[in-house]
């Protein structure tokens, strides 16, 4: 099994290495810091430069998220659509192992991107004589765990949907949409009466249920944004980081199981 897993990881890395679209995204990742760090060089105050690094970090981490989600979507959709999987599963290598190897490679790729982001920020800290901010490492860890969750979620969507549908689904069915709907329904519930009140109540129950079931990709967001706003750690910060990582592991495992079930039900011919 070890040989098979290593062979699969090597092949997956070659897939990412030879994917031109992914390569273009990575090149763009290099341009972002180059572009966004220009204002920092024109500023003299350390405070402004720190803000510049924080802004740069949020842009790059958002990009790292996109690379993680995009890579797994490319990977699974490509293999499902070009029908090469029948050659993999007619070997003693199960769909679960293939899925795990694919998701694992995407997670490893995203880790590399996050390490590159930290390195770029550290270089700017050194250039601008700013002491290393541990809050940045905290945020990178928090964002990476969220990104892994997103990878597993996109992996699941890629197994069941066409890639375009998967992206559309991910964009529409997200926490923010249902939070917004909850607000709208709350406002509408106050004005409505009679039959429409009943209808609003019914829709609200459905929206509440979906909102409750839907995983969040930013657990304990208020604590994370506190650290993100100042890059300063507080005594309780690590407790929330640990809880966020645990949450990410549980959600990822759930999406992995669902993906495996759906992949095994597919006719891979």
């Amino acid at each position: 099994m070890k040989e098979a897993l290593i062979g699969n990881l090597k092949a997956n890395l070659k897939f990412f290495k030879r994917n031109r679209l992914l390569l273009a995204l990575l090149v763009l990742l290099i341009f972002i810091p180059a572009l966004f760090s220009i204002p920092g060089f024109l500023m003299n105050s350390t405070g402004n430069r720190l803000k510049s690094v924080m802004f740069l970090y949020s842009e790059m981490s958002r990009f790292a998220w996109m690379i993680g989600a995009g890579s797994v979507l490319f990977f699974i959709s490509h293999h499902l659509r070009n029908r090469s999987l029948k050659l993999v599963f007619t070997k003693p290598f199960t769909p679960e192992m293939w899925l795990l190897a694919g998701l694992g490679t995407s997670a490893a790729l995203t880790l590399l991107v996050f390490l590159a982001v930290i390195l770029i920020c550290e270089i700017l800290f050194l250039l601008w004589n700013i002491s290393f901010q541990w809050g940045l490492l905290y945020m990178a860890f928090y964002d990476y765990s969220s990104s892994v969750m997103l990878i597993f979620y996109m992996g699941f969507l890629a197994v069941i949907f066409h890639p375009a549908m998967a992206v559309l689904f991910a964009l529409i069915f997200q926490e923010g949409t249902f939070l917004f709907l909850k607000g709208v329904l709350k406002a509408a519930g106050g004005d409505a009466g009679g039959l429409s009140a009943l209808l609003v109540k019914g829709i609200k129950a459905v929206v509440d249920l979906v909102y409750f079931v839907m995983p969040t990709f930013t657990p304990f967001e208020e604590h994370a944004s506190k650290v993100h706003g100042s890059l300063r750690l507080e005594p309780g910060s690590f407790k929330y980081l640990l809880l966020s990582v645990n949450y990410a592991v549980v959600v990822s495992a759930a999406f992995f199981l669902l993906s495996a079930i759906f992949l095994k039900r597919k006719r891979l011919i």
Partner: protein, 298 residues
């Protein structure tokens, strides 16, 4: 070794309609067999092969390979190699990377030397660093054969193995397959090229509309017709009435005649001073047996 019993598979079509691809298919393949799945287009040969490998789960009926139910990634695949009909491989890998990757999935340490030997045996050594997506159809087919050979399987599933191959390599592949079968490898072939099946296989099943019409030894399907002789002799103006001409060439005539007129025929060629190129008991070809069975079913 491979048993399918009463297997039914149907595919979902638009508006809730279902298309029955296999309809109570039953067959048995013994260890050491070179078994052919024959049938017209859309008969269910490929579906049958997918079922035998567990890539399609039957709606009803059972399939067992080595006494176990096959499913994707099952342990039984450590002794199985498969060559798909369509060359859908991992396009982004090179020929060598691809063969090594498929070999690695067996979970055994297969040395690079063995991978290169397999590539060499199919004549792709100079193309081993070429990406699969840039390979021609024939080259992809050869690569598929190489990944089968590197696995040293006990069962070899081949879906249209000579499709896209040049005649020279087709001949070589036939020899390789006959050699592997002689070494005890069970071969299951799905092919339209009946002459190829005649040379490789010892048993065959003729499938139509998802059902097995006949499953028998090839020798039984190609039984000798002992009452008729096939003859080919120098063209002559007067041909005896008992010779039924089947083909007339520029210099020769081919025909069939009853066995009891053999002495008369030799008397005739001697008296006319003709040359006899061929005179043998008529042998049913697999093609004629295939056509007879299908027309009988229709």
């Amino acid at each position: 070794m491979i048993i399918a019993e009463n297997v039914t598979v149907s595919f979902r079509r638009a508006f809730g309609r279902r298309l029955k691809a296999l309809d109570g298919l039953s067959l048995g393949i013994r260890e050491g067999d070179a078994f052919a799945l024959l049938g017209p287009n859309g008969a269910g040969k490929s579906t049958a092969m997918y079922c035998l490998m567990g890539l399609i789960k039957p709606d009803s009926g059972t399939v067992s390979v080595f006494g176990k139910r096959p499913y994707p990634g099952a342990e039984i695949f450590k002794d199985i190699a498969y060559l798909p009909e369509e060359p859908h491989y991992h396009q982004y890998l090179t020929v060598e990377e691809c063969v090594a990757y498929y070999a690695s999935l067996y979970g055994r340490k297969i040395p690079r030397k063995k991978v290169r030997e397999a590539i060499e045996s199919v004549g792709l050594t100079e193309f081993r660093d070429l990406k699969v997506k840039k390979c021609s159809k024939g080259m992809k087919q050869k690569m598929g054969i190489a990944q089968c050979l590197v696995a040293s399987p006990k069962i070899l599933f081949l879906d249209e193995p000579t499709r896209g191959l040049d005649p020279l390599f087709s001949k070589l592949l036939r020899e390789v397959l006959v050699g592997l079968n002689a070494d005890g490898v069970t071969i299951v072939i799905n092919s339209h090229v009946l002459s190829e099946v005649e040379m490789i296989c010892n048993r065959a099943a003729i499938i139509n509309r998802g059902k097995v019409l006949v499953e028998d030894d090839l020798s039984a399907l190609q039984k000798l017709e002992e009452r008729i002789y096939s003859v080919e002799f120098t063209c002559n103006r007067s041909i005896p009435e008992y010779v039924q001409v089947t083909a007339r060439g520029r210099e020769t005539v081919k025909g069939e005649m009853p066995a009891e007129r053999l002495e008369d025929f030799f008397e005739y060629v001697r008296s006319e001073g003709l040359k006899v190129y061929e005179c043998s008991l008529k042998k049913n070809t697999l093609e004629s047996a295939f056509l007879d069975i299908l027309s009988g079913e229709a």
